[in-house]
């Protein structure tokens, strides 16, 4: 946990200038903002020290590459090729020659400096408005050298927030299920990685089937389904310590777990005698409450961010549809009325939308609707895809997609994909093995 602490001091008060740059993220952005990420400058001594510790030749360049990649994958920015840069990084950080940056059509410029101070990594960076010729933001922070990738993510978050007006989602992690082997005998392990795919780590060995890991929005805890000893049960896992425990004492399968927004409860399904109902368990006093009471399948529960409502899917109408109820189980209302079947509702962290999976005429869709079911919008269509999970700022969805096999049953794969809320910027999220059931963490530094 210590590793995750990062000291963040604002050394320069953000300059209060009216900026000319504004990035509209509410519509599909077909014209990403051109900007220049000048490599962070570094003095020779610091360079040597970091090379010894981190085995990286120039940590300044490495960090700026992370920022560049993050900005590019957001789909909102177009980081320009460094070969075209005219000004040296150290001088640019002191005082950019705006004409030079204007010449290569950069509208914004990021400069900075890394140094080695008392065994720590100190970074300062500045965001410049090239057209206005003004500084928009300047920040500095210090952390342990091993956190250098996170430094790149935090810089991106700050730049994203300054330019779009909304919080970023770059200093985050994804937990997912890593998959290998033939379709009929998949081996599945829990895995975790940074949002950009770096630092991939397997958390279980693959001895038992594991499914649907989900982050606690307030800590580094995860809840998931494990078939340990062939008893499918909901478990809790502390990522930092590796300790695991089964949630509750249920005489049958528990599944489809998620945390409540304050992280204090688990909501999940319990299946018994052919009937699945939704239950909560308070993690402090272990009190279990039954929330639904219906002979149909009630599963895939997800809380609203204020904790007052729960969305879930049920086949009480004959087919799988999405419902919303109060968190005590009262006032159950069906909200999905379009053609097809609907499942896996997930409430947006902003509270205004519910993401879902839809099956209609043999195709699977990821979509969003308002919490009363109106304004349905389908973002992507495929042979098979499901299980959207929101970025913490509610702008991006990550989900998984499976391929159709050929006539011999070969060619199966499962991959993670992300897409913008606007339906643009669909991207493969690459993982070392196949992957499914992704869950996005909240921002690590807040």
């Amino acid at each position: 946990m210590k590793n995750f602490l990062i000291c963040l001091f604002i050394i320069l008060i953000p300059t209060k200038t009216l900026s000319l740059i504004e990035v509209d993220i509410t519509r599909g952005n077909l014209d990403p903002l051109p900007l220049a990420v000048s490599p962070l400058s570094i003095d020779e001594d610091s360079k040597k020290n970091f090379e010894n510790i981190l085995k990286k030749k120039n940590i300044g360049s490495e960090i700026s590459i992370i920022v560049e990649n993050n900005l590019r994958t957001s789909g909102l920015f177009n980081p320009l090729n460094k070969d075209a840069f005219l000004q040296a990084p150290d001088i640019a950080n002191l005082k950019p020659r705006f004409e030079d940056w204007n010449l290569i059509k950069a509208q914004a410029l990021i400069t900075g400096r890394v140094s080695y101070v008392e065994e720590k990594l100190r970074v300062e960076f500045r965001l410049w408005d090239v057209l206005a010729g003004k500084e928009m933001m300047a920040l500095a922070f210090t952390t342990v050298p091993n956190n250098w990738r996170r430094v790149g993510h935090i810089i991106t978050d700050k730049v994203y927030e300054r330019l779009t007006g909304e919080k970023g989602y770059f200093d985050t992690r994804i937990i997912y299920v890593a998959e290998e082997g033939p379709k009929t005998q998949r081996v599945k392990k829990l895995a975790i990685m940074d949002q950009d795919g770096a630092n991939n780590k397997f958390l279980t060995l693959g001895n038992e089937l594991v499914l649907t890991p989900r982050f606690n929005p307030t800590s580094q805890m995860v809840t998931y389904l494990s078939y340990f000893r062939n008893l499918p049960r909901v478990y809790l896992l502390d990522i930092e310590t590796g300790t695991q425990e089964v949630v509750g004492d249920f005489p049958g399968m528990t599944f489809a777990p998620r945390f409540s927004p304050n992280g204090k409860k688990i909501i999940m399904s319990f299946a018994k005698d052919g009937n699945s109902e939704i239950y909560t368990m308070d993690l402090e006093n272990r009190i279990v409450e039954k929330i639904t009471n219906h002979p149909s399948i009630d599963t895939s529960p997800s809380y609203s961010p204020d904790g007052n409502f729960i969305s879930f899917n049920s086949d009480r109408s004959g087919y799988q549809q999405i419902y919303v109820m109060k968190s005590d189980g009262s006032n159950v209302k069906r909200i999905s009325f379009g053609k097809g079947i609907y499942g896996t509702p997930v409430w947006s962290p902003r509270g205004d939308l519910i993401a879902f999976t839809k099956l209609h005429k043999g195709k699977f869709y990821i979509g969003v609707m308002r919490t009363d079911g109106s304004g349905e919008r389908l973002l992507t269509e495929n042979y098979y895809q499901e299980a959207p999970s929101w970025s913490p700022n509610g702008r991006v969805l990550i989900f998984y997609r499976e391929t159709k096999t050929d006539s011999k049953g070969k060619g199966f794969s499962a991959k993670l994909w992300s897409i913008d809320l606007t339906g643009y910027n669909e991207r493969l999220v690459s993982t070392p093995t196949d992957g499914s059931d992704p869950s996005w963490s909240s921002l690590l530094s807040n």
């Binding site: 499914l211 062939n230 049958g252 299946a271 052919g274 699945s276 899917n313 499976e402 049953g409």
Partner: protein, 165 residues
Amino acid sequence: MSEGATMKFNKILKNTFLVLVACFALSACATQKVSTGQMQGDVYTGTDTVEYLASGVPDRVFFATNESVLTTASRETLRKQAAWLRKNSNITIVLEGHADERGTREYNLALGERRANAAKDYLMTYGISSDRISVLSYGKERPVDSGSNPLAWSKNRRSVSVKAN
């Protein structure tokens, strides 16, 4: 060739083409019929994947899409299992419920559980004590056929009785 003749010739070509297309379509239907011969509605009726608990006692029953209703054939299979279990009173079984790949993971876990319980309830009405039957749902996690077609899916929508001891 005059213009009229060319047109006529074209028409003949077109018609021949249509006939050819029709032939293809029919033969496609014919080959599909062979495979759907293993399904009634969309319930699997073949024996490709079936194993036997004992001679004449099939280990599995199949379901229609989204359904957990036992068909006539399923009930017959389960009656054979019940008779065999009555004769071998020391044996306990696990009913493993499964779904096809065309559903969301969590719903399919619930559906697999519902299917296995449909089989369990039927065995119980034929005198098998619930102590001897446990239920385990795999949802869509353990298909027997990795195909992405209706026949493969029908084989995967199943409840399998597995000896536990």
